[in-house]
Amino acid sequence: MPTEQVNLNEIARRLLADGTVDVVIGYTTGSQPLVAVPAFVRDPQDADTLVFNRFCEQNLVNYLHRFKAKRVAVVVKGCDERSVIGLIQEKQLDRQKLVLIGAPCAGIVDPRLVPEDATEEETLGDDVMYAGCAACAVRNPRFADYLIGAPVPQPEAPEFSDTTAELEDVESDERWRYFSREMRKCILCFACRNVCPACYCNVCFTESSQPKWMSKTDDESDAMFFHLTRLLHLTGRCTGCGACARACPVNVDLRTYNDRLRKDVKDVFEFEAGLDPEARAPMTCFRDNDKNEFIK
């Protein structure tokens, strides 16, 4: 069944006016040019403030944790929709209470690549897109209730980061150099965790004091401990939406490591997070014939 194509503002107004949802989570224009910010619309009159453009980089699914008691409509890009499916699998969301407004997305602009004097969207080409967006395999939402535009073409691109592939081919020492260089940048601000829709533990291991898993010093080994543990916690759960990499204030190359993890999960457990709502998460099950050669 083809999903109904609608206008974003009209559908938001309609859903709020007829009481289908309590709040519409979407994007609105930011206070600066070339920026979009999250918007929470509760009044049908405000529905016109919603926009969707190439600056809508936030993964709004992360906000759904705070609206569990409400009926919510949320604007999702293809990547964000995978997060929704992941959370439904983990019984964190009730699909019945949720209206998904799908936004076909041809890629989001990376503000770090935008020339400083640019003020008009039209002047920006495809070369200022996030690297993850250029390799995106889910441009069009597949499970959304409505689509706010025509589906966009899906170009062929390598599924995982090029750096991941490059690092796989080099010596262990080289991989270590790259890893420690990235980890030295990390200031343990935990922005990556805060924006991650899959990170919703009430008490994160970083904050737990009993047991006290990690200390937060400037020693890079603490950053390594944090990132490795976070990766392990995201095994089979990371959908590769890239929110963490976008949120990072010091540009740690998180994508390379997330992609390696997703690649591992795909190769070894034949699983991809956020694609099939019925699939069983790989770390919650096992097979008799799982890989065993690495164990003596």
């Binding site: 796989e168 420690s180 543990t229 790989p282 690495f294």
Partner: protein, 159 residues
Amino acid sequence: MSDPTWEPKILAFLCNWCSYAGADLAGVSRIQYPPNIRVVRVPCSGRVNPMFILRALQQGLDGVLVSGCHPGDCHYLTGNYFARRRFLVLKRLLEFCGIEEGRVQFSWVSASEGQKFADVVTEVTEKVRELGPATRMVKKTWKLPPEVEAQLRGAADAD
């Protein structure tokens, strides 16, 4: 600059029902194996949180061995199957990040495999000896200044 007296220090998580009993059998059978492991008895290999292993590396352990029951033999029926998946991901991730292959190793040793336990410990110790003292991911601030270190060593020698 390498210390000739250096001996690998290896943390071994042994499951209560198989590998710990296997280690016990190795002991009562008087089988010789290197004294480099420090044993932590855990109820099941599934009890071993990957964070334990990362923490051990951070604290400067030269190697970590996790040993449990063979698949199908788990006292809790499925603990080691879940552990196997977790360890696979951990091992691949560590290697991708550049932690030397062999720092973290896994084995299945049953209660009747005293000889295998000794062999595994020998093999792991030799591998870690080959790799040398752990440097990667070791938290530097936990190292004492050399003069304090020397003082402590002096005090220990005086005893």
